[in-house]
Symmetry: D3
């Protein structure tokens, strides 16, 4: 029954990378915590760099430096 | 004051369906828990099938089978 | 595959009320959107009234008035 | 280490407004709670008015009145 | 209609500090974005230091160093 | 800058298991997506079995069968 939510910036996040992430985090929960993969849910939210702040600045602005 | 968040895949999720969902879940909280509809908030997040995993696979891949 | 998250204050939220809420919201998604109940997930978060604000005040303070 | 998540409707939410929001909420957590700005994360989710309900109605419908 | 969710570690997070945080972030959204305070919702989640990771380590472990 | 949120039932979720989960998911994001571990945040929410529903039933009730 575990639920995993990733929030990631969209650059380079291809369908294939998402596929790998879903498979591997499901496997991690099965291996480390004995969680049933059949009821493991993964949701990936893509967050634009304007909408993500760290240290008081947007990621867009941080990357300009 | 309740808050309800739905995460749903976008196919078939028309403005009309969203309207129904908002009305009915607000009503459900009023009827079953006595919650005041005026302060009941509903947020619907639409999650693409590539970004949703179950049983270690994306929903996109599961539907191909 | 839908996911529903409720945030509710804990008063009066018995195991029985939770059971009803889970059953009825799952049924609502099946009836209105044709969602498969077997993969419908519901998570209820209980939020203390000190930790919930509306109109600039905590719910604890609003209820004192 | 604090994490702040805003859910806002997108109208008028320019890159500049987001920048201000990120800077000011980070500053608020530093000033009021002594939180280190370097590890303060802010995420802004934009929610369309069809997907946001209050008092049993979508915000789209409320604004028509 | 904005919604703000803070995730914070619980140490030093008194009812009074929460009250201040709720009031000030509601005010920030009114001042900077013109949001109506009456429908601004704030939810504070307290996350234990064992349950919070940064740079691959729990906050509990980081603080031991 | 990635953010990972796990929702898990609390049984068997020791400090040591949490430590492993934080380390391994941070490593997974570095290896598969090239994400910087220093700004990878992990938050684990523990959800009681009464508060988690699947297929219209609470996990508490499902486990009784």
């Amino acid at each position: 029954m575990p639920l995993v939510n990733f929030k990631l910036t969209p650059e380079g996040l291809t369908a294939d990378k998402k596929r790998t992430l879903i498979a591997k985090v499901t496997d991690l929960l099965a291996t480390e915590l004995g969680k049933n993969p059949d009821t493991t849910i993964v949701i990936i939210d893509e967050v634009e760099t304007d909408n993500w702040g760290i240290a008081g600045q947007s990621v867009t602005d941080r990357r300009k430096k």
